[in-house]
Every structure is written in structure tokens, then in C-alpha cells.
């Protein structure tokens, strides 16, 4: 089982998975978020290749209203 930290919250996944699959689980469309994996930004193209490992830190961000 894999332990991740996603947007500051602990999250477990049973078995390995790509970031794309994680987003899918979270019902997030890849086009609408930016993924930072362990403080490195992931290109959208690579979301389906890169696999999350135990202990990974992910930040899933997007634009919100701001001044």
C-alpha cells in the first residue's frame, strides 16, 4: 500500500498508480490542474507515465479568484 501526501492531507492508494490515475480517482480533469510532485512541476504529457511512490508529496493547484 502507498502512502501519499496530497494537498497537505494523508492519502493511501492500494497498489502502484500513475499520477493520471490518481487524478482520475480524485475526479480531477488533468487539463484543469497543475501537478507538483515533490516540489517539481510535472508536464501534463508526463502525467500518464509518472508513477507515485510511497511518501510522495503532491500539490494539485489551479487558478482561483485573486487580486
Amino acid at each position: 500500500m502507498i502512502r501519499l501526501r496530497v494537498n497537505g492531507k494523508e492519502r493511501t492508494m492500494d497498489g502502484p498508480a500513475t499520477v493520471q490515475e490518481l487524478l482520475h480517482d480524485l475526479k480531477l480533469h488533468p487539463a484543469t490542474v497543475v501537478v507538483e510532485l515533490n516540489e517539481e512541476i510535472l508536464d501534463r504529457e508526463r502525467l500518464s507515465e509518472v508513477r507515485v511512490k510511497d511518501g510522495d508529496q503532491l500539490e494539485l493547484v489551479h487558478f482561483v479568484g485573486g487580486g
Binding site: G8, V34, I41, V61, F63, G65, G66
Partner: protein, 268 residues
């Protein structure tokens, strides 16, 4: 743009060009603090702004909050300018700038490094440090700063594409407290000077543009007005009026009065 202002601007105002990109309107607006997205959209449309600023934040995985602002703003009509609001160090601001670039597919960033929580005044030292690094990384940095001339000059030297001094603290609505410094900054810089933050009502926008600056950025003054849509329109007109008045060249003011009707031709 209104017929009135078209008529007026057409001959006189080529619009605002930042790093080779030209915007018809000199007014830029933020997207924060609106009661709802419908009001936000209508107020922004009323303001005539093309450039709208957005912040980078975590997706709310619990879906309690509404989705991102992107769903509501047509990228064909509006240029989304990512900011680094909420960052307190150069390192943090750089991280948010990179995320904004990835999210917005633009090199433009409104750099903000706050130095004090109560006043939200920028940290000029960290801002300059971050600006240098971001420029090296190919960002087109529009730097939020105070009305300090020397820092403004340094930010220009660092390669910022625009310098954005504040009129007064963010959300204060105190208006243009120090016109001298803003005027001097405009006099001395080559890059566009866009006054950011502090405007509270239309006359603040008008008097700020009359100093000759290239543009204005505001958020709270519109979003927190009782009627944001009317205020959005008021800000659009006030920004145009201030620009036009600056170009028109105001009359000299004097303590002595001067009659506006002829003093000759009076009856016996």
C-alpha cells in the same frame, strides 16, 4: 469600449503595451472577493478590463468550494495574469510563479512578496531578489512594489516588464496618498508604471491616471462596492477620463479668480 471613449482614445491613446503585448484598456482588475461568480463576470465586463489577475491555490479535494475561476472567464476575451499573492519569501513566490506559468501557459506574472501581515506591504528586498531570479527564468515580471523610487529603478534594471507601485495598502481604499512619488516614478522609468492597490472609488482612479501613469490595477474597490457592476463601469470611465485629462493638459490652478464671461460690453 464606449463610443465616447473610442472617439476620444482613437486619436490619442494607442492603449497599454507591456512586454510587446498591447491591451486596449489601461484598467486591470482582480477576481477576488466577489459575492458570486456571476457578479464577478458582469463587473469585470462593465470595467472593460482585458487583463484580470488570478491567484494559484490548491484544488479543494472535498469540493466544498466552487471550482477554479477558469471555468468562468473566457480566455479568448480575458488575459489571465497569475499573481503570487500570499507569498512571504522570494523562494515561495518563485514556486507560485512557476505554478502560475504552468497553469496559465503564459510567462507574465504579477510578482508579489508580502513583508508584513497587517499591512500587506511588500518586502522590497525579497521582491527584488525574486524578480532577478524570475527574469533569468524567462518570466515577464510585473512587480508589485511600494512608491519607493529607488526600488522601482532597481526593479526596472532587474528586467521587470512593468513596475506596479501601490497607491495605498491593499484593500484600504485610501486612494493615492503620495502623488509626488508616483509622478516621480513615472517620470524616471522607461517600462510601464501600473498603479496597483489602494484605489477606493472612481475619483481615486481618475486622479491616479492624471499623474500620467500607464495603467491601474484594482480589485476590492469594485468587488466590495455596494453595486460592483456599476462601480466596474464607473472605474472604466474614470480611468479613461483620467488618461484623457492627463493628455489634454489641465488648466493652471491659481488662487486668484478669473472671469469666464467677458468684462467688456457691459451696459451703462
Amino acid at each position: 469600449m464606449s463610443e465616447a471613449s473610442q472617439g476620444a482614445e482613437a486619436p490619442t491613446d494607442p492603449g497599454l503595451t507591456v512586454a510587446g503585448r498591447t491591451f486596449r484598456s489601461r484598467l486591470m482588475v482582480g477576481t477576488g472577493k466577489y459575492a458570486d461568480n456571476a457578479t464577478m463576470i458582469r463587473a469585470i465586463e462593465a470595467s472593460g478590463a482585458e487583463v484580470v489577475t488570478v491567484a494559484v491555490r490548491r484544488v479543494d479535494l472535498d469540493r466544498t468550494k466552487e471550482e477554479g475561476v477558469l471555468y468562468h472567464l473566457d480566455p479568448e476575451r480575458f488575459f489571465l495574469l497569475p499573481n503570487t499573492a500570499g507569498c512571504y519569501t522570494a523562494k515561495e513566490a518563485i514556486r507560485y510563479a512557476r505554478l502560475g506559468r504552468a497553469a496559465g501557459m503564459t510567462d507574465f506574472v504579477k510578482l508579489e512578496v508580502i513583508g508584513d501581515e497587517n499591512t500587506l506591504l511588500p518586502d522590497l528586498h525579497a521582491t527584488l531578489e525574486a524578480a532577478r531570479i524570475l527574469v533569468d527564468e524567462g518570466f515577464k515580471v510585473m512587480a508589485y512594489t511600494t512608491d519607493d523610487l529607488v526600488t522601482a529603478l532597481r526593479l526596472e534594471d532587474a528586467g521587470c516588464v512593468a513596475v506596479m507601485p501601490l497607491a495605498s495598502p491593499i484593500g484600504s481604499g485610501l486612494g493615492l496618498v503620495n502623488p509626488f512619488y508616483i509622478r516621480e516614478i513615472k517620470r524616471r522609468l522607461q517600462v510601464p508604471v501600473i498603479v496597483d492597490a489602494g484605489v477606493g472609488t472612481a475619483s481615486d482612479a481618475c486622479v491616479t491616471m492624471e499623474q500620467g501613469v500607464d495603467g491601474l490595477l484594482m480589485n476590492t474597490a469594485i468587488a466590495a462596492a455596494r453595486d460592483p457592476i456599476s462601480m466596474g463601469r464607473a472605474m472604466r470611465l474614470a480611468t479613461e477620463a483620467g488618461r484623457l485629462a492627463f493628455l489634454a493638459g489641465r488648466m493652471p490652478s491659481r488662487e486668484m479668480a478669473v472671469p469666464s464671461s467677458p468684462t467688456t460690453g457691459m451696459l451703462d
